[in-house]
């Protein structure tokens, strides 16, 4: 049991450091989040009526000033099933978006619900996002995970694959 003394010292050092060393998400986190969001579009399916032609792109909307916008742009043109992804940096979200990365400005139940009614898969990055949004990224320490509200995704007419549902830390 003497071996645990260094461990206890280590715990107290880390805990002491927590107060001042609270760091915001690094570039690595943002890149990981953008890649995870790209995968959300790959494991979601929209009805054909949401697309003009069989070759039309899946449109992912994000506000230009959103911290993830630049990282998401790297996935513009990447394949999403038989279609490609179009990352649209826009200030207005409407029914031409298949998925939207929502920021704090849209974080009210009315906006989120109306986006879902218009067939938009809402994706957020704040705690408790899935009370009114479809997929919420959650960050625990340095681990990026996601939660799903499948009822809201269905309301938007989006079917999430079982693989995505299985990887979610919480499915409602």
């Amino acid at each position: 049991m003497r071996g645990f003394l260094p461990l206890l010292v280590a715990i107290s050092l880390i805990t002491a450091e927590t107060a001042q060393a609270r760091q915001v998400s690094s570039a690595g986190d943002a890149a990981a989040k953008a890649a995870i969001i790209y995968n959300f579009t790959r494991f979601s399916s929209w009805s054909d009526s949401r697309f003009a032609t069989p070759a039309s792109a899946v449109v992912l909307c994000v506000r230009p000033q959103h911290p993830l916008a630049a990282h998401l742009a790297a996935f513009d043109g990447r394949p999403v099933g038989d279609r490609n992804l179009q990352v649209r940096r826009t200030a207005t979200f409407d029914a031409s978006c298949h998925a939207a990365v929502v920021d704090s400005a849209d974080l009210n139940p009315t906006t989120l619900t109306s986006l879902a009614r218009r067939g938009v898969l809402t994706i957020g990055d704040t705690r408790g996002f899935i009370s009114h949004g479809a997929i919420g990224l959650v960050t625990i320490g340095r681990q990026v995970r996601f939660e799903i509200n499948n009822r809201i995704a269905r309301e938007a007419g989006v079917v999430l694959s079982s693989r995505l549902l299985r990887l979610a830390v919480l499915v409602r």
């Binding site: 049991m1 003497r2 071996g3 645990f4 260094p6 461990l7 280590a10 715990i11 880390i14 805990t15 450091e17 927590t18 060393a21 609270r22 760091q23 690094s26 890149a31 990981a32 953008a34 890649a35 995870i36 995968n39 790959r42 494991f43 790297a74 996935f75 960050t139 625990i140 320490g141 340095r142 681990q143 990026v144 995970r145 799903i148 499948n150 079917v159 694959s161 079982s162 693989r163 995505l164 549902l165 990887l167 830390v169 919480l170 499915v171």
Partner: protein, 654 residues
């Protein structure tokens, strides 16, 4: 072997100097762009190089059992999972025990496979082996199992001879909410699991679980089979805490207790053994802490654990405490060198009480110390293509003193997306406490404790190829040649005069074996809904020097290991919510035909009426009503009749 060591050591010293200088390595683009969702969420393989690495790039025979492999197998114990790994041998024994090895020498105490759970060694040096009935981590909590066949001693130390297995459990962030599962079988076996996970502030997550099982079966015995019941319960927790961008911290622990009906072979080999109690009782507790700090690409980690186990079996009542502290670090040196180094110390104390006057465990109590250090350098000879890894571990143990375990690995990664690799490595198996301490005084068969035993040595030569076959298939091929020396064998001395035992046995170094084999794993996604995974292996073992009992009974027998094995798994998504999976395994006859060949079929059908609820039926061993998979010789455990059974299960997650 000593000249080979000298050559390896010389290569290890000369080559790093030769490799320095030259063009800079290409910087890769966004590291996340090419990864699958699972890969982004999970860490990569760490067993081969003790740093995160993609399986495709590792220069060793590595196989990863993923969450999906576990889920779709329907299996709930570690040994059963290993049946999907090419080159591994698994045979069921009574009371939840199993004979598990890679690349030969199977038996209940097959002693050449190092096994760890989250960095905690469950290989027991008192016995040189793993008590599989005491390994009860809930499979629901397992992130992945990294199985490396072939020596891993350069990084993992002694006893990683024929392989090293790392069971990696999920980060606590991956087990939030409630999980409840239960299953019940046609022969009234049952298992329940309950898990609770929660976040702890913004930076932490915690889970706690309890899992229990009870099984009933039949064990091989002469003249007739014997009823066999075993049960166990285990509870545990894991807390992960990442307060800032640099530090991550894990604290985890488990407690367990269990019992079973049978332990020893029947009929007992001697009168003394016949008088012993037949049941097994065990318990165990462990606690592990790990602190990892990342600074500018330099990752350092300190891990401390304590592990206690108690077990009463075959007239021995033992308790073993073990404490271990380990430091490891990896970093880049210049543009061409990836250095991994570390040092560790382990303390172990045991006390074994003997419940019969016919046996002695001498000394009854013993304390042992291990300390060692290792360093490994992966040198990029041709950036992005040719990599050379040189490494060695120097380790001291109280039985054989210093042991030097070097390895050289070379890998070529082609622009075409495949990797070819070759390796030469050495590993040792250190003597066990049992081999040096056990004495049996029996009028028929006596065992006298061994004097000084040397470590068993392996020199292994391996080559491999791994790559994609088109967009939806991948192939992994390995060939090896193993040369073993100083293997521990029974030395039998016949009676010298009246009143002496008929035969006296002593452990001694003297066995020599050569083995060669090939292992293949093929994964193919045939359609969007249908995936097939095939594992195949073949092995030829040549015993050059052996030890014999009367009647030609050998210490180890090449015949125990199947000459070839095949496993074919088929995963079919009938719909997005219905799975239909098959698993076929073929193992030819072993032990000269005493154990019959078998072709096994498991079928699993699962339905998820909602994303958080799964109902399943799993039918095991459909082709045989029952079968034996191994006949143990020596101090073992009876074989179990592996029976046909059907499981009905439910799992819910909220």
């Amino acid at each position: 072997m000593s000249s080979t060591r000298a050559i390896l050591a010389a290569i290890a010293l000369i080559l790093p100097a030769a490799a320095s200088g030259g063009a800079a390595a290409q910087s890769s683009a966004d590291p996340y762009e090419e990864l699958s969702l699972e890969e982004i969420l999970q860490a990569n393989v760490t067993s081969v190089a003790k740093r995160p690495q993609r399986v495709e790039e590792s220069a060793a025979a590595v196989f990863v059992i993923s969450r999906e492999d576990i889920r779709r197998s329907g299996v709930t114990t570690l040994p059963e999972l290993f049946r999907m790994v090419p080159g591994m041998e698994v045979a069921s024994l009574a009371s939840g025990n199993a004979a598990v090895t890679a690349r030969g020498f199977n038996g209940r105490f097959s002693n050449k496979l190092l096994v760890l759970v989250d960095g905690r060694a469950i290989y027991l040096s008192t016995l040189s082996g793993v008590l599989w009935d005491q390994q009860l981590p809930p499979v629901e909590d397992i992130e992945r199992i990294e199985v490396v066949r072939g020596p891993g001693a350069t990084l993992w130390g002694a006893n990683a001879v024929n392989g090293v297995i790392n069971v990696v459990t999920k980060h606590a962030a991956d087990s939030l909410g409630v999980l409840a599962g239960a299953r019940y079988s046609s022969d009234e076996d049952g298992r329940v699991v309950f898990r609770l996970g929660t976040t702890a502030g913004d930076s932490g997550a915690l889970r706690a679980y309890v899992v229990g099982h009870r099984s009933e079966g039949a064990a091989f015995a002469v003249p007739d089979r014997r009823h066999d019941v075993s049960s166990a319960i285990q509870a545990g927790f894991r807390f992960d805490f990442e307060p800032n961008a640099r530090d991550s911290f894990t604290l985890q622990g488990d407690v367990q207790t269990g019992e079973s009906d049978l332990s020893q072979i029947a009929p007992p080999p001697s009168a003394a053994m016949a008088a012993l109690p037949v049941g097994v009782q065990f318990s165990g507790q462990n606690l592990l802490g790990r602190w990892t700090r990342t600074d500018d690409g330099r990752v350092s980690s300190v891990q401390v654990y304590w592990d206690r186990l108690e077990r009463r079996e075959a007239g021995l009542d033992g308790v073993r405490d073990q404490a271990d502290i380990d430091f490891s670090q990896h970093f880049s040196l210049g543009e061409r060198h990836q250095i991994v180094w570390g040092a560790g110390y382990r303390w172990s104390s045991d006390h074994v009480e003997v419940l019969t006057p016919a046996m002695r465990f001498s000394p009854e109590a013993r304390r042992d110390h291990w300390y060692g250090a290792y360093v490994s350098d992966e040198i990029s000879l041709v950036p992005d293509h040719l990599r050379l890894s040189l490494g060695a571990k120097v380790e001291h143990n109280d039985y054989t003193g210093f042991e030097f375990q070097p390895s050289v690995r070379l890998a070529w990664t082609d622009s075409g997306g495949w990797t070819a690799w070759g390796a030469v490595s050495q590993a040792v198996r250190t003597p066990s406490r049992l081999e040096t301490a056990l004495e049996v005084h029996d009028p028929i068969v006596a065992i006298s404790a061994a004097g000084d035993l040397k470590a068993e040595e392996l020199l292994a030569w391996e080559i491999g190829w791994r790559g994609k076959l088109g967009p939806a298939a991948s192939l992994d091929l390995t060939a090896y040649h193993h040369q073993y020396e100083n293997l521990v064998i029974w030395n039998a001395t016949p009676a010298m005069g009246p009143g002496q035992p008929f035969i006296t046995l002593e452990f001694a170094n003297g066995g020599r074996v050569e083995s060669s084999g090939v292992e293949a794993a093929l994964d193919a996604r045939l359609t969007d809904r249908w995936t097939v995974k095939i594992a195949a292996s073949a092995m030829d073992m040549n015993v050059l020097e052996n030890g014999f009992l009367v009647g030609g009974l050998e210490t180890f027998s090449a015949g125990v290991s199947p000459r070839h094995q095949l496993s074919v798994r088929s995963w079919f998504d009938v719909t997005d919510t219905i799975d239909l999976d098959l698993w076929v395994r073929h193992v030819p006859e072993t032990s000269g035909g005493i154990v019959k060949a078998y072709t096994d079929l498991d079928i699993r059908a699962a339905w998820r009426p909602t994303p958080s609820l799964e109902l399943y039926v799993l039918a095991e061993n459909l082709t045989d009503r029952e079968r034996l998979e191994i006949i143990e010789t020596g101090l073992g455990s009876p074989s179990a009749f592996n029976e046909r059974r059907v499981w009905f299960g439910v799992a819910a997650r909220y």
